[in-house]
Amino acid sequence: MTSAQDPSVVLDERGRPCPAPVLALARWALGAEPGSLVAVLTDDPAAEADIPAWCRMRGAEHLEARDEPNEPGVRRHVVRVGAARDGASGAGPGVPQKR
């Protein structure tokens, strides 16, 4: 298993409940260069499922999720954002359909 580079950008979403962590990730991704790395620190239980789900919906890569050392209940997710959105997304059950 390879470990992801440590991103220089860290979004600290500790203490913020869903959907705040995903929103913060999405806002950051909007202005980011394709291929950029970002880490999200969160204690939101929904983020465990939602950050990977957002990555799938927005063509980003969920590289890693691990416990943050010395911070019980806090997880660090590392994401690599994808190319700019062009409005086309894969169709299929459970996958959002964009207009």
Binding site: P19, V22, L23, R27, A46, A53, M57, P93, G94
Partner: protein, 345 residues
């Protein structure tokens, strides 16, 4: 008592078993407890239990009290109390080959897999599960809460769990155990035929049997009506709400369950907004749950959990209810997203 025995017979007809195999108990939770503990108590059984990751929490909790479920995994997960969880795919379905893989190493383990998932509706591969359990000679404990009253209950199970809530009956539990199953009463034996130990509410048992029998009489029509309605709801949501994920298998599913998640929307806010239009819905999102945890079913599927709206259409759902929801939902979601400033995200 004749009424009680008639109630057993009526329920047995719906479940596809014999009257003397049907037992009433105090609640669905108690039925789950008796089912799982009884299988474990059978002398030749493995101490372990194999269950699907998307079983109802009542059932997982009966097997392993206070269980903390792991993050989504592609392989079987070995948890406390000798519970092995089978993973599910993105629509919430278990892979029968995973069941075989686990039983190869734990051949006498009772198996706990639902006929269908009540949240997302996905029907499990019941024929394969029945065949595999028969091959290994292990009891299949099947949760029938999802299909009961809405579609035919599957066959091939050894032990069945149900309760009265889906058919508007008293919320007492039903436990059915086919004779010859690797199952025993986990504590004391019953003293009244048809009543689990500690249960004596015969009027509720009769009420449940009556309601089930009535529903069974027009099951095919109910199923068709709700399938059409839920199909209209599923496709309507996809067509009218951007960035929405409708969960579960779109075809092989329960007729009444529809659940979808709206990206970037706070679930509590959308549930409240719909409530203002007298549209009551549930939610599987963390913020809407007393526990603060998102639906373990959605999490196990890798599905988006925030902004989740959960609908379970009642047996006699008027078409107008779905029309109203489809009318109101897009505007409310758009308003919430505008408020949160998510354009372009």
């Amino acid at each position: 008592m004749a009424l009680l025995q008639a109630a057993r017979t009526a329920v047995a007809e719906v479940l596809g078993c014999r009257g003397d195999e049907v037992w009433f108990c105090s609640s669905g939770q108690e039925a789950a407890r008796l089912a799982t503990h009884g299988a474990r108590a059978f002398p030749a059984s493995e101490v372990g239990v194999v269950a699907g990751a998307v079983e109802r929490m009542d059932i997982l909790d009966a097997i392993s009290p206070g269980i903390e479920l792991p993050p989504r995994s592609a392989s079987p997960w070995i948890g406390p109390d000798h519970l092995v969880l089978l993973p599910v795919d993105s629509v919430g379905r278990i892979d029968p080959e995973d069941l075989v893989e686990v039983l190869e190493t734990r051949p006498a383990s009772p198996v706990v897999i639902q006929q269908a998932n009540s949240e997302v509706g996905t029907i499990q591969p019941v024929e394969r599960i029945a065949a595999i359990c028969a091959d290994y000679g292990v009891p299949w404990i099947m949760d029938a809460v999802g299909p009961l009253g809405y579609m035919p209950v599957a066959g091939g199970w050894s032990v069945l769990i149900a309760d009265g809530r889906p058919v508007g009956a008293p919320p007492i539990g039903v436990l059915a155990v086919r004779s010859g199953s690797a199952w025993v009463w986990p504590e004391s034996a019953p003293t009244i035929p048809g009543c689990a130990p500690g249960f004596s509410d015969v009027p509720s048992a009769v009420a449940l049997a009556t309601a089930l029998h009535a529903h069974h009489g027009h099951l095919a029509a109910t199923e068709q009506h709700l399938r059409d309605l839920s199909e209209r709801l599923r496709s309507g949501v996809v067509e009218s709400v951007p960035d929405v994920a409708v969960h579960g298998d779109s075809v092989t599913r329960l007729p009444q369950a529809v659940t979808f998640s709206c990206l970037y929307v706070d679930a509590e806010a959308v549930v409240r907004a719909l409530d203002q239009f007298a549209i009551q819905v549930g939610s599987g999102s963390a913020c809407a749950a007393r526990s603060g945890q998102p639906s373990h079913v959605l999490a196990a599927m890798g599905a988006l959990t925030h902004g989740n709206v959960r609908v379970s259409l009642p047996v006699e759902c008027p078409d107008a209810w779905v029309d109203r929801l489809l009318d109101v939902l897009p505007g409310e979601v758009a308003a919430l997203r505008a408020e949160a400033g998510v354009q372009g995200l």
